[in-house]
Structure formats: structure tokens, C-alpha cells
Chain length 438, copies 4
């Protein structure tokens, strides 16, 4: 039981395209990586459906989780002479970095919206429940799983460790920006991480940044800004997420109605009945979900069938920009909804308003809702200043929530309706509103 | 029907991490990419189980196929003033490049060995059978699907096009070396493709390489050599392939025996009964296979259950180097087999001899079996010389089949047996042969 | 005479670390590169004394000039179907790109300030005067040298060509950001040039940017911003420039005074007497200047000797931040000047106020003084909008001249004075003002 | 005197494009970098005249020397737990790495051949003679300069340290391959240095390589092989070196003859009279040499003038492949020499046989003449095996001295002679031998 605290006889090394090598030196980390719960992350993509837009983005959360661990390992390496770390602090930090995303489900964004699951809660359950991960963590100490969960949950007293894992500039974000940039192939996500690691300083309870490193941090914030607009909020990706959501919604609806599925969706029933055990949750991954989509392509329900075929074959919804207004008479969405209904297109599934601000991302918002710790600069005179107070560039984008509304719709259905004389006039109106040239 | 030969109004561009951008200018190519059969390649990994060794290697065949297309597009761009190309030649070439791998199944290596399928035959069926791809190709001309299939099959009269797609230095290999290097993160696979593209020359019926580009080609051959030994033949990857093969073998065996599966493996039955329709084949992808592995983790058959659990949770077989000998008395494999049987470990599943030369790869073998066209250099005096005659380095590795034998075994089972007194002595012998310190 | 308009039989290719390859296809360009005036740029560094701060920045203007040519070649390639280009327009554009910096002298920044030369004027003289470049350009047409000079001078009627070479986003800037980033090793200068080239559109008389490329342009502007503050205005580089300026100033002063130089500074006398012929100017390069610095290390004049030794051995001036005020009683510079004089340190040479806004750089200032053409976005509706009106980030840094004042001083001299009792008190005051701990 | 052994209060960091950052942590290293002798390396290019072929290759020996230091620092970091290092061993190692090239003169290759200087001897003199470097090294201990010089000279008893600095795989070579590849822009020079650093092991007296790292070492050897043939032996570079050598030869000849130089070549006279003091040697750099070339362009001697103009304006000699034979009647060089003399072209300067094997490079030759320590692999069984015994690829290129003979000649002079009727027939013969079409 005590060798869990040992260093490995021989360091284990993973070849990593982003950080070149991931170094594992501790028995604990090695054992955690080899648990079924952690290996399961190989079957969950890091960027959900982004691969339909950027074909390189097929990397998994396993990939990212190892990366966050490695960034954290390097931060600790840098800080080891600047902060007091016990061996347990170090392992706490590394375990939290490695495991922070372990509760993610398949296609989390869409999934959580429909089934009301929360990957953060599941992460807690995996750490504290009846899992191999829990068994291994308990070898360090009975309260160690709880400590790790508190760090991930940001309720830990160890503010420094919390701030290294989740603040405006943390191991998680540094890894995902670099990694997502690498796999998508865009170069917006690049910034000089090595430099940032060198200017991180522990200051009282938090990590702060030496003023001399401000430009590197500006560059990091700008990378984030660009990645959000260029990659994470990409309208085509959102189109595939809309379809995904609608598939889940339709399946749940059918199940509720007692629809006779050709094959019982055993993996998903617990979600639909809102009675998900940890064991059932851990069986969910993207292979399973894709399996159901495939067999649903042969279901009798036309909507489920059509949506699944769209997702599998990448026949996505088209979209237009859209500015919601309170006045229903002027609202394009409201108007289109009415027209869609009149020509017989189901607006629950085939006309969807989606806004990017729904997504839980922000490129820079200091300390909003007390949640995210802002970036503080350690000035030459020893004072702390919040980044956006010093940097014009960061100031420019701080807190500007640029909500981006779009209307997604199934163009093929409209074309189909266009062939029915009785709808001709309505279809012309629909097309005019959507800016489609006839 | 004629607009299939048109150029797109606006070029479509894919962001690609390897070639920066993939440019699509032709209506035909755009339509082919959007077929269900081509989109299916997103659900089949380029490097099978390599991701268990190199976690970055999660990229799909979709990814690679787009890449081969792009390399071919650039080759044509380079050659356009040096060879006579009709518009149809060009489309033939691009279509063949895009579609050359379209028949691949899930985890092809292991899959084909057990189920005796052949992805090249399936590629032919997809091109010529009742598919969306076939429909689109026929828009170019009734015999166009056949022409494309002949190019991929290397039976086409257009030797130049064949040599650009499959020779010792072709669009396929250039893309996969660069791409696999990029995603795994090793840098062995890098070579100066831009330079090679500039020294390719059409010569009579084939593509040859200007002598001045020899060093770039040497570098490419060395990249291939290194990638094979460092990545493609990696013993850990082979361990996971061994397990995969054993899973399929066990499932087929059980099915044959009339074993009552808890859920009928509908997708795999056609394979087991050797009666696979094109439609059934196209439903096979890695999500489906992984789905079955997951549910089989709860089957009653211990072997199937165990193997699936090993694959999903990455509990792989260990291995030792092994040199087969004809003399059974001296052969380590034969000895171990006997001992395994004596302690009651199933040697059909838990002791496997595997050799890398089984794999259909060669780093450089000029013209072997008339299959692969060798690399010819166009010397300053106008003569042609085969590369290995001119390059010492290539000569050094030419035709040297370095077969690499390994024995894979389930260490956990041996440890289990070790706890039974009656096996103690045998286990000691087993461990000695395997070099395991007790 | 007519073959100057020919394409080369075989394209010439330069290996370039930034653009991978520079392709020369025209006889004219090839001949221009091989002129003595253009080859001379190999002996003039692109970034002056920046190499004392970033040791990799040893690249020459030859390097950069080839790069600007290559970027321009690619722009033309992109635009060729979108704008009407005659063969002569193309050559005009390429020649201007190649030759735009040909008039640069050694360490231009410091040099021009002291000797009141202007590299732009010298570029005009080289194009129009008795040079090999002029002879070659005249082979295209008698008025061709003038046309090229007008493009570089921004007086040409061909606004499109002018805007491609000198606007807020032009071939010159795109090359130098990428190149300077590459050689210094900072990664701030990277942006997606390939993307920008794809979204440049000719619009009436100017080049504009398609709105869909706005984020790539934002990224470019941010690169520029970062490069200016991180590299071009680096205080250590400015220290070496201050010393350089002071060397030239001292030598000119001594010459004026009739000081008997051990070896006549033949190359520099025309500058000192403000009577520089084109022939004399073309002999000036950084080898010659460095040669004089070396022999001046053995001159009798202590100041000249000391300054040259400082430059050669990199014993630079220290610096403090400094905010000038009108009130002399409060101005740190004024106070220090007084104190320096009192302890006997020459304030003409050893205490220098320098501000970065002296440098002719701006990261983004739309259309200031009618000089730089602003970046206009071509909106989806066909309108043009100036970039900073659309982009928050660009808006944030637009026109904010962040002047950066510093005082440079010779710390060694102060330490020397500190050893003389009579200056003890003054030295204490000096040190206090400079923030030096005794 | 004791603080020379201290660690710096704050680590100094150089931004380096190859290793990202160079970290200086020791007072000693910091002081050594700031000596005039070390700063002088900024004025000597790493690759001599290679910049005439690869325009990016303008980097200095200063650049490389910092790089070798940094590689060594990382090796020590890796080895620190595997070998016993005293603080002095470490400083010895780092100092030797930093200073190993400090004796290089301008354009060493050509320079040493003509003036019979030897940069290794000068390195010794700089370490041991009256220099700032010597003063600083002596602060560590009176015998420390000697110890450093013995390491560089390979006569030190500390074989391990010697092997880290000069063997077939050492800090010097690893840095120059990566650096020269970076600055020229070719990618042949890339290999996975990080991996190699991880598999270096001290073994008895030497550094050896763990067998598991063999492929990384093969890749490094291949990089070297490619760099030599693609970059270091490039025929165009050799043409410029031939001219450089001929300039020095002509100047020495003229000086010997009492030729009245317009300006005394003070810096070079000590070389010509073979009486060079350390002080005189240290004044030599490439600026000084280029200065003389420039003023010699206006000398009366036609040969000196012409050669200097050729070098400055890059009007190089042409070349043909050439295979020397003992039989003078068949030897192309002998025949051409005769013909050149008959038409009145000086064959001492305008027809030069040059062979690359003159150059002091070898890509892999284990232990030749006891000079270079071969690469030994540490096999899994604890044995050592010399690399070429294990690696087919390395075996293929081991010891194969591929001498490459070329004849360099001044084509312009031949064309000039062609205009004189009396030489017409001879010129035809010359051109035939040189393969020039009339």
C-alpha cells in the first residue's frame, strides 16, 4: 500500500505531438492512467463533433488529459523552488490535472443539454464512488479521493493548486489551446507556453504572472479569443451539434411515447428515465452512441431515421445569421416557424435557433461570478494588477459577450415542399426570408 | 448531368494540419467526398490500434484519403506542363487518389486475417456496385467507374497514373508517412515532399525522379524505414492486434458452436457465415465493433469476456523476442505451449507467435513480384537507373526482410496459476523461459 | 534586348527557411538578383543591431528582399484570375518588391539619424542612376526604371500595385514579420499568410480583404503589435543603437575639428562632408563600418575608442524608464545631466534620452497622414469597411502611440567616479536617481 | 574570487530559434560569454561562404557556441543522476562546450589552407594566453584553463567529458546539424535530439547509447550524411571557397613580390610573414577581411581585383565533374591546363581542381586513427557493440569516403578569348572538354 507513493524505477514516456513527451515518474499516476475509467476517455472525442468541420480534430479526451497532466508537471517543476510543496501536494496536483475531465460523456455539449447530466458531477462520482480510480487514490490516504475532488471542484482550501488547474490561465486551458490548434491545423492557438511557465509565481494563495511576461499572456488570451471564434463556435460544428441534440431529443420523445424500437436502446434508457447508475454511465462512450445512430437509420420513425442519416453521412443543416427580437411580428424565427408549420415541416426538429453564448466558454472575463480566478500581474514594485487593467488588448475583449445567433434549418425539406404546388407561395416566402435564391 | 465536369464556382477548402489546406475545385470531387461511403471512412482509424501505443494516432482514413487526393492534386499541378493531361485524365487520377482506400473495414489488419475479407476487393465493389459513389462516377461516363477501379487495381493501361498512385513513391505513401508522423508526434516520417514533387517527371509510361532529387528520395525511403520499425511494427501495437484477432476468432468460434449470445451480433454474422453483402459490409465500422466488444464484456464465455476487457481497458499481452526453429525440442514456443497446456492455460488464445513480416509492408523492395514499380532515376545523360543501384543507403536496406518474431502471452494468467501449488514447478519453468523474475 | 521579357528555361529556386522555396521564373528578376547593388544587401543586416539582443537575428536585407519578392509572386498568382495583369504589370510588381529596400545603408536607423541620409532617396538613385540595376531595368523599356521607382515611392498611378507593396498589409510587412520571427526565434510573428493571400481581392484601385478573412488579419495585426514591443523596440537593442549613433556623432565631430585619424576614414568622409556620390554610397556596408570601429578601438580619442570598444565587445549602456516633464526642476534627465557634468562625465555621449516613438514604426494606424493605405474589409454585402471599425481588437490598439522613453547611461563611468572621494556625494545622488543600490 | 563558482541570482535566458531558450545559471558562463574574445565570434560566420548558396546561412559561430553550451547543459541535466559530477566537472564541461570554437578565424576553411593557421591551436592560445577568457577561467583555479584546454584538445583524462564534446555524437555535432538545418531551411538536419539525450549513458569512461535509442541515432547519422552532401559540400559553396582561397593566395604572392598596395593590408601582413601574435589574430574577423576585399576591387593588379569583384558580387566560377587519372595524356585537368596556358589564361587562379574530401568532415567513420570515439550501443544484455556492427544503414555508409572532384574555371575569360580569332580553335577544344555548347 505504501509503494503508491514511490517513484517508478524507470520513468514511463508517452510520445506526444504537442508537448513532445509526457513523462510519468510516479507509481500513482501510472496506475491511474491504466484504470478502465481513464482508458474510457480514449472513446470520447475532445472536441465533440468539431471533426465534421476540421477533419483533423479526431483526438480524444485521453489525449488532452495526459496533456494537462504534463503541463501541470512542468509547472510544478518550475515552481518547486518558489513554493513549498510536499510530496502529497504534488501528487494531489498531478492527480487532479489528470482526472479533471474523467466524468465527460459522449458528445458532452449536446448530450448534457438533452439528458441533463453534468460531467462535473460525474467526475466527482468517479473519484468518490466504487471505481478503480477511487481504489487507487485511497491507497494514498482515505481522504485523498475527496481532496482530489475538492481541487477539481474548486472548493479545496489549497487555492494555489486550484488556480493552477482552473483559472483564466491554467494547465487545462494551456493544453487544450495548443492541442486543439495542433489537431485542427489552425495556428491561432499557438502561444509561448514555455515562457508563461517561467513567469508563473505563487503569490500568497494564488498563482500570478510576473509583469515581464505580460506580452506572452496577451498572446495566450488572443489565441483563446481566436480559437473560440475560428474553431469552437464554428457554425458548421454547431449545425452538427444541433442535429445531435435533436436525435437525442427525438429518441427520448419516442421512448416516452412507448415507441417500439427494433432494438432496445439499453445504454440510453437509464438517461431517458433519469435513473443513471455510475456503472451505466461508465458504459457510455461515442462508439456506443454511434452504434445506436447507425441502427436507428433503419428505424421506422422518419424523423429519427432522417436525423441519424444526416449525422452519419454529414448532411447538415444550413444556417442564417439571426437577431432575435421581442416583437414576434418582426422576428424572423417566429415568421419562419409559422411558415414551416404551414407547409408541414416539423419545427421542433427542422428549424432551430442556436446561440453560441449558450456554450460555456469565455475568452476573458476576470472573476465573473466569483468563478474563474482572474489573471493578476505581479508588477515590478510588488503590487498586483488585474491583467485587463494593464493590457489594452485584453481590455478590448474583456467581458464583451459577443453572442452569435443563428437559425439552422433543413434545406432539403424546403426543396421537397417546393415541388408541391399548394406550397409554392409559402416556399417562396420561406426562401426569401432565408436568402435562398430560387 | 454534364455539370459533374464543371469547376466549382467557389473552391472548397479544408484546413489540414499536414498539407495546410486541401483544395477542392471540381464538382465531381466535392460530390464524392459527400457520399455516405466516403464519410464512413471517418469511422475507421488510419492506423488501427496504433493509438494504444501512440495516443495521438487517432486519425481516420477519411483524413488520409483527403490527403492523398491533395498530394495528387499537387503532383498534377507540377506535371501539367510536362505531360499531356486531358480533363478526364485529371479527374480519373484525382478520383482514384481519393477513393483508393474506400473499401477498408474496421481494424483492417486483424479483421481481414480472421474473416478473410480483402479491402481491395471491397474497394472494387464500392466503385462498381450499387452505391452513391458509383452513381456519381457514372455521371462522368458509363465506363468511368471501371476506369477508376482499374487505376486502383493497377490493371489500367494508363501506367503513368497507376505509378502516381501506387509505386514505391506515390501520393498514398507520401501522405501517410507525413500524416502518421504528424499525429503520432514522431519526426521520423518527415521528408521534403515539396522537393520530390518538383523532381517527378513523366518518362515514357511512368513517373521517374530527376537525379538531382536523389537525396530527397533517399530521405523519403529512410523515413519509411524508420516509420516501419518505430511505429508500424511497434510491439505494443502488435500486442493489441493479437488480442483483437483473438476476439474475432473466439466470437467466430462461439458462433459456429451455436453459443447463445446475449445479443445477436447481427453486424458480424454475415462475416462469420462468409456471406457478406455490400450493404452489410458498409455498415461495418469501428464504432460498431467497439460496441460489440463492450457488450461482450458481459458475456458468459470467459475467454471472450476477458479478451474484450483487455482490449477496452488496455490490459495487453506481454511479449518476448523469439526465434523459431524447426526442431521442436529446442523451440521456445513449442516448449511454452506444452507447459501452458499442462498448467491449464488455453494456448489458442493466450500464447501467440506473431511476426511483423506478416504485415503487408516493405520499406524498399524494387519491383518485387512485379507488383510495386521501383523508383527510377533519370540521370543527367538521359538514362534511367533503378534507385538502389545508385544510392548506397537505399542499397543497404533493399530487400532485407527483417522478420521480427515475438511471442505474446497473458502474464496475469501465469501469475494466477502460480498461486496453485500443483503448478508451482511448471510456472517456474514458464517464467524462466519468458525471462520473468519470480 | 527582348529576352529580358522571357521566362527562364529552367526555373531557379532558392531554398528559403521562411517560405520554403523562392521561385524565380523570369529572366529580368534573375538578372536583377545578380547585380552588385542587390548582392550588396547581403552585407547589411535586416534588423541592424537587434542581433545583440536576439542572437539569431543575423539575417541580411538580401534575405528579406528575396522574401518580399516571393510573397509578391504568390499574391500575383492568387490574383491572376481576379485582376487584369499584363506581363509588364507583373514584372513591375515583382521588380518593385525585390528592389524596394535596395537603398538601405549600414545600420540604417542610427546611420540616417546622424548623417541625414535617407534610404528611400538612395533607392530612387540606384534605380534611376548609373547602376547595373538601371541598365537591366532599361532593357524592359526606357521608362521602366521610373515606373518601378514610382511604385516604390508610392507616386505611381497603379494604386493596386502600390497597395500590394506598401500598405498596412503588404508583401514587405508580411515577409518581415515572418522572417524576423523565424530568425529571432520568437513566435509572436507568426500568422497564417497563406490564408491572407487567399482573401486578398482587388477592389477598384486597391487591394482589400474579404470579410471572411478578418480573423486572419486580426492575427497579423496582433503579430505586428507583439513584434514591435517584444523585438523591434527592445530596450537592449536600443542601447546598442544609442552607442552606434554616438560613435558616428563622435567621429563626425572629430573630423570637423580636424582631429588627426591614424587612418583616414575614406569611406565615411563623404558623409561627414555631406557630399556623397552614388558610387561612394554603394561602397558603404556593415563590414566597412565594423572595420572602422575596430581600428578606432586604437585611436587616441578616449571617447571614440571607448564607444567602439563598447559596441564591439557588447558593453552596452544601462537604462531606466523615464517620463519627460516640461519642468526642468523635476525632470530626471535634467537633474542627472547636471550631476553628470559636476562629476565630469560627458553628457553628450554618456547620458542619452531615447524614445521608441522616434522609430518609424506603427502597428496599426489607418491612413495616417495619407501615407499608409488602411486595411479595408469587403463585407458580404459588397460594402467596404475600414478594419478598426469592425474589429474590437484592432480598434483597441489603433492609433495609440505608446511612446516609450528611456534614459541610457554608462554605468561603468559612474562606478569609476565613485572611487573619487570628492564625487562621493554626487555619485550617491546619481545612483539614487538611477535606482542603483550602492 | 570565489563568487565565480556561484549560481546567478537570476538565471539569464537567451531566446534561441533552435533550442527555444538557452539558460545560463552560472556566474562563470555569464562572464565568459561577455568577453571580447567570445563576442568576436559574432563576426565569424558558422558556415563560411555557404550563404552564397543558402541565403539563410548567415548565422555566426557565436550562435553555434551558445547552442553547444545549451546542449551540453541538457546532457548534464540528464546524466546528473547517472554519473558522479562535481560542481567543477560541470563547469569544466560547460566551459569547454562554450569555448571549443573560440579560436576560429574568418572563413576558416579557405583561410587556414592558405595561411597555415590552425583554429584548434588558436583556441589553446586563447584559453592559456593573455586574454580576458584566461583571466576568468583562472578565477576558478590556476589550472582550470589548462583543464578546459585539455578537454577541447581531447588529451584530458576525463574521457567522459571529452566524449560528450567530441565524439561521433556530441554536443557540437548535435547543435550544428540542427542549427545549420534551421538557418539554411533544409530539413535534412532534423533528428530527435531530446530522445538521444534521454538514451545517453555514462559507461566506464565513455558516453554510450542505450540500444533502445538506436533508431534515433541512425536518424542522426543519416541527417549528417545528408547535410554533408546537400549543404556542406555543395559545389556552389566550394566555388566561392576556391575564389576566396585564390584571393588570399594572390595577395600573399603580391606581398611577397613587394607589390605596392594602395593601402597596407596591416591586418593580414602578420599572416603573410608567418609571424602572428595572439593580439593580431584576435583582430581578424570577417568584417576586416571583407573590408580588404572591397578596397582591393580598386587595386591595379588585375587578378586580385577580378577575384575580389567575383567574391563580392557573387560572380562565381563554373564547374564540371572530374575524375583525376595518373595518365597525364588522359587527364582532363592536365589537358585543360595546357589549353588555358596556350590561350593565355592564368591557370594558377582560373582553373582549380578541388575535391570535397579535402574537407575535414566525415559522416561516420568509427574510431578512425584513434581520433573520433565511435558510437557504442549498450545492448540489453549489458554488452557494448559499435553502432555500424548493429545498424545496416550505418554500415552502408561507414568509411565510404566518397571523394567528389570538381574542376572550377572562369567561364567569362574563355568567352573573352573566344573573341580573338587566333584562339578560336583552342577555345573550341576547351569548350568541348568543359561540355559548353558554343
Amino acid at each position: 500500500m505504501s509503494d503508491i507513493l514511490q517513484t517508478l524505477n524507470e520513468e514511463k514516456v508517452f510520445k506526444d505531438p504537442v508537448h513532445r513527451y509526457v513523462h510519468v515518474k510516479d507509481q500513482l499516476i501510472w496506475e491511474l492512467i491504466n484504470t478502465p475509467e481513464f482508458q474510457r476517455l480514449r472513446r470520447i472525442r475532445q472536441l465533440g463533433t468539431t471533426y465534421v468541420t476540421f477533419h483533423g480534430a479526431e483526438h480524444s479526451r485521453f489525449n488532452h488529459s495526459l496533456g494537462v497532466y504534463e503541463v501541470m508537471r512542468r509547472i510544478i517543476e518550475q515552481l518547486k523552488n518558489k513554493a513549498e510543496w510536499t510530496r502529497e501536494d504534488r501528487l494531489l496536483c498531478l492527480s487532479a490535472a489528470l482526472l479533471h475531465d474523467v466524468g465527460h460523456g459522449p458528445f458532452s455539449h449536446s448530450f448534457e443539454k438533452v439528458f441533463h447530466t453534468d460531467h462535473e458531477e460525474w467526475t466527482q462520482e468517479i473519484l468518490l464512488g466504487d471505481t478503480t480510480i477511487n481504489k487507487i487514490l485511497r491507497k494514498v490516504g482515505e481522504d485523498f479521493p475527496l481532496k482530489v475532488s475538492e481541487v477539481i471542484d474548486k472548493t479545496s482550501d489549497n487555492k494555489l493548486v486550484v488556480s493552477l488547474i482552473s483559472s483564466q490561465i491554467d494547465a487545462d486551458r494551456m493544453d487544450y489551446l495548443l492541442r486543439d490548434a495542433y489537431f485542427t491545423g489552425v495556428n491561432y492557438g499557438n502561444f509561448d507556453m514555455e515562457r508563461i511557465l517561467r513567469v508563473i509565481r505563487p503569490h500568497e494563495e494564488y498563482a500570478v504572472i510576473k509583469y515581464s511576461g505580460m506580452h506572452a499572456v496577451e498572446d495566450y488570451i488572443m489565441s483563446r479569443y481566436q480559437m473560440y471564434w475560428q474553431v469552437y463556435f464554428h457554425p458548421v460544428t454547431r449545425s452538427s451539434e444541433v442535429i445531435l441534440r435533436k436525435i437525442f431529443q427525438r429518441a427520448a420523445h419516442l421512448y416516452e411515447q412507448g415507441y417500439p424500437f427494433k432494438q432496445n436502446p439499453d445504454h440510453l434508457i437509464p438517461l431517458m428515465t433519469k435513473n443513471v447508475s455510475l456503472k451505466a454511465y461508465l458504459k457510455l462512450d461515442e462508439s456506443v452512441v454511434m452504434y445506436y445512430f447507425q441502427i436507428w437509420m433503419e428505424e421506422d420513425d422518419n424523423i429519427l431515421k432522417d436525423l441519424c442519416q444526416r449525422f452519419m453521412d454529414r448532411q447538415l443543416f444550413k444556417y442564417i445569421e439571426y437577431l432575435p427580437t421581442a416583437n414576434a411580428d418582426e422576428d424572423v424565427y417566429a415568421k419562419l416557424k409559422q411558415l414551416f408549420l404551414e407547409v408541414g415541416i416539423d419545427t421542433d426538429y427542422y428549424l432551430v435557433a442556436d446561440s453560441s453564448s449558450d456554450l460555456p466558454y469565455d475568452f476573458y472575463r476576470p472573476g465573473e461570478e466569483g468563478e474563474r480566478i482572474p489573471i493578476n500581474l505581479l508588477m515590478p514594485n510588488g503590487e498586483l494588477k488585474e491583467l485587463s487593467k494593464v493590457s489594452d488588448i485584453v481590455q478590448a475583449i474583456t467581458g464583451k459577450t459577443r453572442t452569435d445567433h443563428k437559425l439552422y434549418y433543413a434545406q432539403e425539406l424546403i426543396e421537397e415542399k417546393a415541388q408541391h404546388k399548394q406550397y409554392a407561395e409559402k416556399v417562396v416566402q420561406i426562401k426569401r426570408l432565408l436568402g435562398i435564391s430560387s
